[in-house]
């Protein structure tokens, strides 16, 4: 636990390049540049079975292969550090405490795909993180790991930090590209996919911070080491961010596929004040809610999918019995309505409409037909929005209606909150 990606975060001066070098840092970069051709690096990553940690779980090696195969140059690498999903804070310790791990991963990835430059698109709110990265990048330039002729090889690579301006949708890769180009943060039409036509219409690979952080370890220890960890289909370490009603919330780096029960009870110390578990959101705000009976599930892409939810970014939100699920849904929907970019009508108006209905229900002014109306709105939104934001927005509504319909009915019919705890302010 915490021995691969997060192993440096508690060290003194962990952001300093000297600390990192002392620990064998930038050796994998040397190894990659001197021993392997770009093609071989891609092969190694592909063999390791590394899948994107941003939420969709696309095989990283495959993505690189597509981009590297495109003859159009220059190619670009984008590091998606726009960690906007509520409950997710897994990239933050890497950025703020161990930036060189990320930078090294980026340089190796850039070498693999033959990129000319990389942009780290960092969330606007991560002011400190952006600062740390800037300093770390300056150090890396000084040491010759970035810039022209890196380590004497014929490989030029530049790294820039670009701060976002606070839009959740810019975590979506094409919206991120638009935003990086200085345009309004709205998703682009796919196809063409960014691997072929990305930033400034050039082939572009976009990887999550956690994904790129893994790369140096794969090069260092070999693909077989990586593959030996966790389930066969998605091996490797994974950082789970646990929040909510647990005794020890925080980031836990574990092997992919650790069970949810272990996560909550073994690592996070169980539910606060010995209360009963009511619901868990397993992968960030946009994933469907799970009930206590699903708690045995292994936290990897396939297993979570099998019980009707998604692993997403691995942000686990735990809720105990004091929580009104209607209130939670309303709170989540408000976030999505606020973050909807306004490009496509189902997302723009649907989220807004759902919030207004939920507002009514929470204020005990709901009507019986509201549940059906919400289901119909969700049906009209599902699969019809431009980008995944709209699909994500309906997940909380659909899953809470599915699992906690009785709470809605109590709000609507009995005009009261189903939770009888005195501090049930979550409801409003």
């Amino acid at each position: 636990m915490n021995d691969i990606l997060l192993k440096n975060i508690n060290k003194q001066n962990s952001t300093d390049i000297e600390t990192y070098l002392k620990d064998g840092g930038y050796k994998p970069l040397e190894k990659a540049l001197k021993e392997y051709t770009p093609k071989e690096v891609i092969d190694i990553v592909q063999k390791s079975g590394l899948r994107g940690r941003g939420g969709a779980g696309f095989p990283t090696g495959k993505k690189w292969e597509f981009a590297a195969a495109d003859k159009n140059t220059p190619r670009y690498l984008l590091c998606n550090a726009d960690e906007g999903e509520p409950g997710t804070y897994k990239d933050r310790p890497i950025i703020e405490k161990d930036p060189h791990q990320l930078i090294e991963g980026i340089i190796i990835s850039g070498y693999a795909i033959g990129a000319a430059a990389c942009y780290i698109y960092i969330r606007g709110e991560y002011v400190y993180g952006a600062d740390v990265l800037q300093k770390a990048i300056a150090q890396a330039y000084k040491k010759g790991f970035l810039g022209k002729k890196i380590l004497g090889k014929k490989f030029d690579f530049d790294l820039y930090v670009h701060k976002g301006a606070g839009a959740y949708v810019c975590g979506e890769e094409t919206a991120l590209i638009e935003s990086l180009e200085g345009k309004r943060g709205q998703s682009r039409i796919k196809p063409p996919f960014p691997v072929n036509v990305g930033v400034w219409n050039k082939p572009t690979v976009i990887n999550n911070v956690e994904t790129l952080a893994n790369v140096s370890h794969i090069i260092k220890n070999g693909p077989d080491w990586f593959k030996s960890m966790g389930p066969e289909k998605c091996p490797g370490p994974k950082i789970y961010s646990i929040s909510g009603h647990v005794n020890k919330p925080g980031n836990y780096e574990l092997i992919m596929g650790t069970s949810l029960k272990d996560l909550i009870y073994k690592y996070a110390g169980g539910i606060k004040d010995g209360k009963k578990l009511k619901a868990v959101i397993p992968g960030g705000a946009s994933t469907p809610v799970l009930k206590p009976e699903h708690i045995e599930v292994n936290m990897d892409y396939e297993s979570v999918g099998a019980v009707g939810s998604m692993l997403g970014s691995g942000a686990i939100m735990v809720m105990d019995e004091t929580v009104c699920m209607v209130g939670v849904t309303r709170r989540l929907l408000k976030f999505f309505a606020h973050e909807s970019c306004g490009k496509c009508s189902p997302c723009r108006e649907g989220t807004h409409w759902l919030v207004q209905i939920l507002d009514r229900i929470v204020n005990n002014e709901g009507k019986t037909e509201d549940i059906d109306l919400m289901l119909d709105i969700c049906d009209n939104m599902r699969g019809k929005t431009f980008c995944p934001l709209g699909d994500g927005a309906i997940n909380p509504v659909l899953s809470t209606i599915k699992h906690f319909r009785d709470e809605y009915l109590i709000h609507i019919e009995e005009k009261r909150c189903p939770v009888n705890y005195p501090h049930s302010e979550y409801c409003l």
């Binding site: 039409i189 490009k343 496509c344 009508s345 189902p346 723009r348 009209n380």
Partner: protein, 871 residues
């Protein structure tokens, strides 16, 4: 071509075509809202969802490109529900105010809901308040109606290249507005956003609440403002022109218009229009009948012919008339009167360019096309200010530049098009010729010329080399302010072009030695091999919409119809045969010569159509005095002008909206116009007036309609083409060194110490010609002229924005309002020529070109000081 199946129907479509277009071709309707054929796919409204086999979700047809073996379903309960759902989302906040919405009846959303929507509204929550802004002079924004398709924002960016509109805020709070905020658009006011809005969110103030689309009649016609010749349709009701609409598939403009075209139509129904013939009795103009007016004119003309001969009568026609009008006018003058004393507005400068082109290319019809401009790989734009003078031509340049063409802009001020230029060269006013000669020098001395051309025309290039040798780059830099490096770079880019286009404007043609400069530019074309091959062009911009037509129809003393040489007996013979009457052989007088003739007492009567010399010539000039000395002045116009006040007989003419005919734009493309309304008042189309007069003059020219005249014109032009001739270029390159030296002569104008500023008059985007001032739209945007001045100059003179400045020179003094802009270089002032008052034109003096007798009166040297208002 690929084969795909849509609704069990096999459809063939070009590879890469959008599914919506392929379905449309096959006659299958897919509803769309944010999609527009002119714009890039967007995929926002999600109305065009269709089922494509092997795809997990419904796909938007407006973003999907067709491919082989695609199987598409566009009609199914699932899709119908999706469409209904999407429309419901759009309608959640959309107010149901169709009865008062201006778009009612042509609203795309209305039609879609009618066809695919549900008749019931489930959205019962509160509706937010959106911006409703009516402060802009022309465009109203009612954003509660907006469906966020962003078509306006995209057309502003992708088609117009203006990027003035933007979407701000996010999600359901998204609103559309000017990029710089505020409620005034303050843009080019091309009106594309209004035209493309599918709902009533952006509406034109001028058309607002005037009529429903089903009440109006649509007539396709051609714009009358500039030489671009844009096609649009006039919507009229009961003799009122209500608005201008365009179709993106039609005309050179492809649906785009400039502000003058889109909003400058209301002069047609202006209350000030002349509605009856007027005759002067006791120094006052009194209305009379057509019969009496024409009788008087015929009598007087006959008397003058009897006493002083036919050459005592002269005529001047505007370039705003149709080809038919102009053709008949020159025929009237040449046959019914018997004189060659005819001239047109082209004499103000356009004739320079056309004479030069005729000299080099010969009498074959000159054709350059705006498509060539749009497809060019290098464009050299010299003194054009193209986005303001000829906005649609400017749009083509913009498109080419956006596509990746190299654009080199040389102008005396920083122009709008320069923002797309790879080289923006600001040359000193009056040094254009040095710049052009610099280009020629660079091409020759650096060996950029076409190798094949060098082989063919070695002598010519050697001659040129001899001439430009005397001019050093140092001198050029001194005069123009452009360094050797820049000139060589520009010359290199142009000579390397496969599709090189030169565009030159008023800064060349309407200046001293305009004819020679045009020839110099043609030389540049010849030596770089950009003269005859496909895709290359040299395009002089013309200011009035039918100046080309005026010359082609023969409204010039040196040209007969079809650009034939009036001085050559052989050419006269060709036309005489068709007309069945001999054309007078005596050389006619050009416009300045006519006015000199009046002063000398040779010319007794003048017939002016649509021109207003008393209003446009400087008052201190001899030409202005000449007008008072005339025995008999006939004025034929739309509006009572200053010249009309001096006239003995005033005849009311019809505007372009009231007559049939053709206009020839600057590409040489003749386009048909059609009468949209009946003539206003008692006015008549010009050709009918000439026809009536000719009958009274004893040489009846009777035509049933404008088409009959067009047939005769076609016959004449055909007759001209039958005239065989050798290659004109071959002749031209034999020009002797001595003659060439004359063509490459440079004259320096020096500002007198007392009057250090150079003042230029010229057209602006919102106004041109004599008509825009009578139209509500342009007047609302720009009600008065402002003197443009460089901030440093203003600082030095202690002038701040909004102050008045006093312009002074030997000819008088004028007070004008000031606009401070860093687009003007130091020492140069600009004032829109369009505004009659204050009469800045009076400061200018008239210059006459030695070669073509073109007259220029658009610049002057002045002194400027701050005007202190008296208390």
């Amino acid at each position: 071509m690929v084969k795909l199946t849509i609704n069990n129907k096999i459809v063939e479509a070009p590879d890469g075509m959008l599914l919506t277009e392929a379905a449309k071709m096959a006659g299958i309707e897919i509803p769309t809202l944010c999609y527009h054929p002119e714009l890039q796919p967007y995929g926002g409204c999600r109305l065009c969802l269709v089922r494509i086999e092997k795809m997990p979700k419904l796909q938007t047809a407006c973003t999907t490109r067709v491919c082989d073996n695609m199987v598409v379903t566009t009609e199914s309960p699932e899709i119908a529900k999706a469409r209904k759902g999407m429309l419901e989302f759009v309608l959640t906040y959309h107010p149901l105010d169709c009865p008062i919405c201006d778009k009612g009846g042509e609203c795309e959303l209305q039609n879609l809901v009618f066809k695919f929507g549900s008749g019931f509204r489930r959205y019962a929550e509160d509706i937010e308040e959106y911006t409703i802004d009516t402060n802009d002079p022309l465009i109203d924004r009612e954003l509660d109606r907006c469906v966020r398709c962003l078509r306006c924002v995209r057309v502003c960016d992708e088609v117009q290249g203006v990027t003035n509109l933007t979407a701000y805020n996010r999600g359901s709070h998204t609103e559309i507005g000017p990029f710089m905020g505020g409620s005034i658009f303050d843009c080019e006011y091309c009106g594309s956003c209004v035209a493309i809005c599918p709902v009533g969110a952006l509406t034109s103030k001028l058309f607002k609440y005037k009529a429903r689309p089903w009440q109006t009649k649509r007539t396709d016609t051609i714009c009358t403002y500039c030489g671009c010749g844009c096609q649009f349709a006039l919507e009229t009701r009961d003799g009122d022109v209500l608005r201008v609409v365009t179709d993106y598939e039609k005309g050179v403009n492809e649906g785009s218009l400039c502000t003058r075209g889109r909003f400058g139509y209301s002069f047609v129904n202006n209350k000030k229009r002349l509605t009856a013939p007027l005759i002067k009795t006791n120094t006052k103009l009194e209305p009379t009948s057509w019969d009496e007016a024409t009788d008087i004119i015929a009598d007087r003309f006959k008397k003058i012919i009897e006493n002083n001969g036919p050459d005592a009568i002269a005529g001047i026609i505007t370039g705003h008339c149709t080809n038919e009008d102009i053709y008949l006018f020159q025929k009237f003058m040449r046959l019914a009167i018997g004189t060659n004393n005819i001239d047109s507005a082209a004499r103000f400068g356009y004739v320079n360019a056309m004479s030069a082109i005729k000299q080099v290319i010969g009498s074959k019809r000159f054709e350059a096309s705006l498509d060539d401009v749009a497809n060019a790989d290098v464009i050299l734009s010299i003194s054009t200010n193209i986005t303001e003078v000829n906005p649609i031509a400017g749009l083509k340049v913009r498109r080419a530049a956006k596509r990746g063409a190299v654009l080199i802009v040389a102008d005396v001020q920083d122009t709008d098009i320069a923002k797309f230029a790879s080289q923006n060269l600001i040359i000193k006013s009056g040094s254009e010729r040095w710049f052009i000669h610099g280009l020629v020098k660079a091409v020759i001395e650096k060996g950029f010329y076409d190798k094949k051309i060098y082989k063919d025309y070695k002598k010519f290039i050697d001659n040129l080399e001899n001439i430009v040798k005397g001019l050093s780059f140092k001198e050029i830099e001194e005069k123009t302010g452009i360094s050797e490096k820049d000139i060589i770079e520009a010359a290199k880019a142009y000579s390397k072009a496969k599709k090189g286009v030169i565009i030159f404007g008023q800064g060349i043609t309407h200046q001293q030695d305009g004819y020679k400069s045009s020839l110099n530019l043609l030389d540049l074309c010849i030596i770089t091999g950009n003269i005859d091959s496909k895709g290359t062009a040299i395009l002089p911009l013309c200011d009035e919409n039918n100046e080309y037509g005026a010359l082609e129809m023969g409204a010039a003393p040196e040209f007969l119809s079809g650009f034939l040489n009036a001085g050559a007996a052989k050419d006269r013979e060709i036309i005489s045969k068709i007309w069945d009457k001999k054309i007078p052989a005596k050389k006619g007088l050009t416009m300045p010569e006519i006015f000199n003739g009046i002063l000398k007492g040779k010319i007794k009567a003048l017939y002016i159509i649509g021109e207003n010399p008393a209003g446009t010539f400087p008052q201190k000039s001899e030409f202005y005095e000449a007008l008072q000395k005339l025995d008999f002045l006939v004025c034929q116009d739309l509006f009572p002008t200053a010249t009309c006040e001096l006239a003995d007989v005033v005849l009311p003419a019809s505007s372009f909206a009231e007559k049939d005919g053709t206009f020839t734009n600057m590409e040489g493309r003749a386009q048909k116009i059609e009468a949209a309304i009946n003539p206003v008042g008692d006015s008549r189309p010009d050709w009918q007036i000439f026809s009536a007069l000719s009958e009274k003059m004893g040489y009846p020219m009777d035509y049933d309609n404008a088409d009959a005249i067009l047939k005769e014109i076609a016959q004449v032009i055909e007759g001209c083409n039958s005239k065989g001739e050798g290659s004109a270029i071959e002749n031209y390159v034999k020009t002797s060194v001595k003659e060439l030296r004359a063509i490459y002569e440079r004259k320096e104008e020096k500002a007198p110490a007392k009057f250090p500023f150079k003042l230029m008059l010229g057209p602006v985007l919102f106004h041109s010609g004599k008509l825009s001032g009578y139209s509500e739209g342009p007047v609302r945007i720009l009600p008065e002229g402002r003197l443009k001045i460089n901030p440093n100059d203003a600082d030095r003179l202690g002038i701040i924005e909004g102050d008045k400045a006093l312009l002074k020179n030997a000819n008088g003094e004028v007070k004008v309002k000031v606009e401070i802009t860093d687009r003007m270089p130091e020492g140069l002032l600009f004032y829109p020529e369009h505004f009659m008052y204050p009469a800045v034109r009076n400061l200018c003096k008239i210059d006459i070109d030695k070669d073509t007798k073109a007259n220029y009166f658009k610049s002057a040297f002045v002194a400027v000081e701050r005007h202190v208002p008296e208390h």
